[in-house]
């Protein structure tokens, strides 16, 4: 028998929570509770943008759009680790804003832009202009190539799928093929043709995403972000996206579980509160267990972001992927059981369980489902 020791050189249990994070978490929770009650969420389901512009303005006022942006561009330079509690709180309230889209856009600019480009675009994002990223040509989050093209005359050709918040975005960062490399290029809303943005019909009616046709858009050389080797940046952005989606899913799982617990403490069947039946009670504990694990994973990843000052290394990649896979599984189970345990009511659109089961489907796919991440974790964890 020659059993290995625990991999002691890896950071498997770092988990810290700073004063900044704590303050942000508290203020984000109360902000989201105030601005995104379940009634407000429902009112926005049919709206085109999916959020209240006044709420967005307040959020900008609070400085959240600059949290992970350096001070020199008007941000507060608190890092992704401090974005996490905000997104978690938004998830908890099912609050839909373009916050994640803007955060990811800023991160791409920070990694791929020149100082001039950063100077030009980042302050606009900090000030609340809505930006988004256009990465996918198809449904595969694992793809690293793109069919979208920028020709030598600097004219774009092709469309992007799943461009979140495209309906409200003023800025688009588009992954495109240019002179043999995948590159990021900035496009502004006024450059788009009429009808270029075609909203997707999402399963999660709180979210907004669209197909965007960039064909014919002519850009200036300055709009092409300077980084020529984008594969690592793209990888980083997808991992950050996965982490933020995970944080959001953790928040949603928590409020979904609360919804269930409340119902199980109210509804009677055969003369007893249904929450006293182990067939309902014990699965709630399973959900709690998954939720707690996912939340720990999310804050572990946030901690590694802080410790590494945002640099993506193997440990952080592992942490982001684990956070996403765990959060997916927690919310999927919560949404599914929330519908089931509400019985007949659960099958109606009126019951809030539907909001969570729909969020669960959307969320699991955003930046990769659990199997996608486990497949990529295997070589990282098993020394293959």
């Amino acid at each position: 028998m020659n059993f290995g020791q625990q991999a002691r050189n890896h950071k498997v249990d770092s988990l810290n929570f700073s004063e900044e994070q704590k303050m942000i978490l508290e203020s984000a929770r109360s902000f989201c509770e105030d601005t995104s009650s379940i009634e407000q969420v429902r009112e926005l389901l049919d709206s085109s943008r999916g959020y209240e512009e006044s709420v967005w303005a307040q959020l900008v006022e609070l400085g959240w759009t600059g949290i992970a942006v350096p001070e020199r561009f008007g941000g507060s330079e608190l890092g992704i680790e401090t974005v996490v509690p905000i997104v978690e709180s938004m998830g908890r309230s099912l609050s839909a804003t373009p916050f994640i889209s803007c955060t990811l856009s800023a991160q791409i600019l920070l990694q791929a832009g020149s100082t001039d480009q950063q100077q030009r675009w980042l302050p606009r994002i900090v000030e609340g202009q809505i930006a988004t990223v256009a990465l996918l040509d198809n449904e595969d989050w694992g793809a690293f190539s793109t069919t979208q093209e920028l020709n030598d005359e600097l004219v774009l050709k092709g469309e992007k799928w799943f461009v979140d918040d495209a309906v409200s975005a003023e800025l688009f960062i588009v992954l495109t093929q240019y002179q043999g490399n995948a590159r990021f290029v900035m496009v502004t809303r006024n450059q788009l043709e009429e009808g270029a943005v075609q909203a997707h019909a999402l399963i999660d009616e709180t979210k907004r995403s669209a197909r965007v046709d960039f064909t014919g858009v002519s850009v200036s050389a300055e709009a092409i972000l300077v980084a020529e080797d984008t594969s690592e940046i793209l990888n980083d952005i997808k991992l950050i996206g996965a982490l933020l989606t995970a944080a959001e899913a953790v928040g949603a799982t928590s409020s979904c579980l609360n919804l269930m617990v409340e119902y199980l403490n109210t509804r009677k069947q055969f003369g007893k509160l249904i929450g006293s039946y182990q067939a309902l009670k014990h699965p709630c504990v399973d959900i709690l267990t998954k939720l707690e694990g996912a939340r720990s994973q999310v804050y572990h990843a946030a901690t590694l972001f802080e410790e590494g000052q945002g640099k993506m290394d193997r440990d952080l990649e592992v942490a982001c992927r684990m956070a996403k896979a765990s959060a997916n599984d927690a919310l999927l189970m919560a949404g599914d059981r929330a519908v089931q345990f509400h019985g007949g009511m659960g099958f109606t659109y009126e019951c809030d369980a539907q909001l969570y089961i729909r969020r669960a489907q959307w969320s699991q796919q955003q930046f990769g489902e659990s199997a996608h991440h486990r497949k990529r974790l295997a070589p990282l964890l098993l020394s293959l």
Binding site: E139, A201, A279, G343, G344, I357, Q366
Partner: protein, 400 residues
């Protein structure tokens, strides 16, 4: 009538040929997979026309008496038709409450007048039926139904409310369970059974929006609604007996239904096809050993259902827990389908976030839609959790 193997094989060929010519084109909107999913006028019109076409071809109510619009043939002919409808994933025969519940009940226990009045319209699809058993406050506890029916001259006056009325907004008739005697010795003895018209002042329906976003069933309100006294089926107090008999038709495999084809199943074969379609890293998802392993498990479970059904008719192989196969079929099937459908959504990459109204949705979003709709099966007719109790107590003999 001849039921030898060659005749039946020839008949099956005839059915297959007819279906090849007559199954309608994709109408461009999502068709209901089950009769509970009919939610729009266009779906309804499509399905009425299809049922009529099948009936006119002689393929519906084949074993029902000719006198009332059936064809008077052996059941095996209808079984063959139903099998081939399923094999061809034909649109469903939607008027299920009529064809599968009310019709058999009337044929078995109704008066001659009732048979004359109701049967043909059920078969042609002209008369859509709905069912009024469940009430808002006591889901599965039918014996506790509180909707009142009071005899007043030649009428009964109905007050109360029924819920989960499938086709409620479209239906012409309802099989209605209502309380005629609140002082009866037992709560069951106070119930009566009505073949009630829906188009009567005082009966109104309010469509219920489903988790899928669509409509499909309703809450029905009775507000001093007067229905003719001859709508009473049997005698006052027969309600519980007739309701239980009705549920027998729902549960049993060959209980005299005009057709049992009320569900288009999404099977493991469909899931395999989906995995063949989806590409990941330039290869079909079906090449992924982890996906393969999961598919094999689903296929095994699905086959268990088929084999269990077969075995349930061999008494000598059911002596250990004689009630087990009978009681567990619904639970196992509906829970398996839930997991398969949920899994199918998880495989779709970003497209899994799209829904039925999106043109880019994989297979029209059928898996997402089917997953959501599947909850009507794991909740309706006794939740999976209650079903599990029933199996534990009745098949295994565990204490309540």
């Amino acid at each position: 009538m001849n039921t030898d193997a060659d005749t039946l094989t020839a008949f099956r060929q005839e059915v297959i040929a007819w279906l090849a010519d007559n199954i309608p084109e994709d109408p461009g909107f999502l068709l209901p997979l089950t009769f509970m999913e009919v939610g729009t006028e266009e779906q309804l019109e499509f399905l009425i026309a299809w049922q009529r076409k099948v009936y006119d071809a002689g393929y519906l109510g084949m074993a029902w008496p000719e006198a009332y619009g059936g064809r008077g043939m052996p059941q095996v002919y209808q079984d063959i038709v139903d099998e081939e409808l399923m094999n061809h994933k034909a649109p469903i025969i939607f008027n299920t409450i009529g064809l599968g519940w009310a019709g058999p009940l009337i044929l078995q226990l109704g008066t001659e007048a009732e048979k004359q009045k109701y049967i043909k319209g059920i078969l042609t699809g002209d008369d859509i039926w709905c069912q009024g058993f469940s009430e808002p406050d006591h889901g599965s506890d039918l014996g506790n139904a509180q909707t009142r029916a009071v005899r007043d001259g030649d009428d009964y006056v109905i007050n109360g409310s029924k819920i989960w009325t499938t086709h409620g907004t479209y239906a012409k008739y309802m099989i209605l369970l209502a309380r005629t005697n609140p002082e009866a010795q037992s709560k069951y003895a106070g119930l009566s059974f009505f073949l009630s018209p829906m188009d009567v002042p005082g009966i109104s329906t309010s469509p219920i929006r489903k988790i899928t976003g669509e409509y499909g069933f309703a809450q029905t309100f009775f507000d001093d609604a007067r229905i003719p006294a001859n709508c009473l089926m049997g005698n006052e107090g027969d309600g519980w007996k007739l309701a239980m008999q009705t549920l027998q038709y729902e549960r049993s495999v060959d209980g005299g239904q005009a057709s049992t084809y009320k569900i288009t199943s999404m099977t493991s074969a469909d899931l395999i096809e989906t995995c063949r379609t989806i590409q990941r890293d330039g290869k079909p998802l079906l090449d992924d050993p982890i996906v393969q392993d999961q598919l094999v498990q689903f296929i095994m479970e699905e086959r268990n259902l088929l084999l269990n059904q077969k075995r349930s008719s061999i008494q000598d192989l059911c002596t250990d827990y004689p009630l087990s196969l009978m009681l567990s079929g619904k639970l196992e099937a509906t829970e398996l389908f839930r997991r398969m459908r949920q899994y199918a959504v998880s495989l779709q990459g970003a497209k899994g976030g799209l829904y039925i109204h999106d043109n880019d949705a994989l297979d029209g979003g059928i898996w997402q839609h089917a997953y959501f709709n599947n909850f009507s099966a794991t909740i309706g007719g006794g939740t999976s959790q209650v079903q599990t109790n029933i199996i534990a107590e009745h098949a295994l003999g565990l204490p309540k």
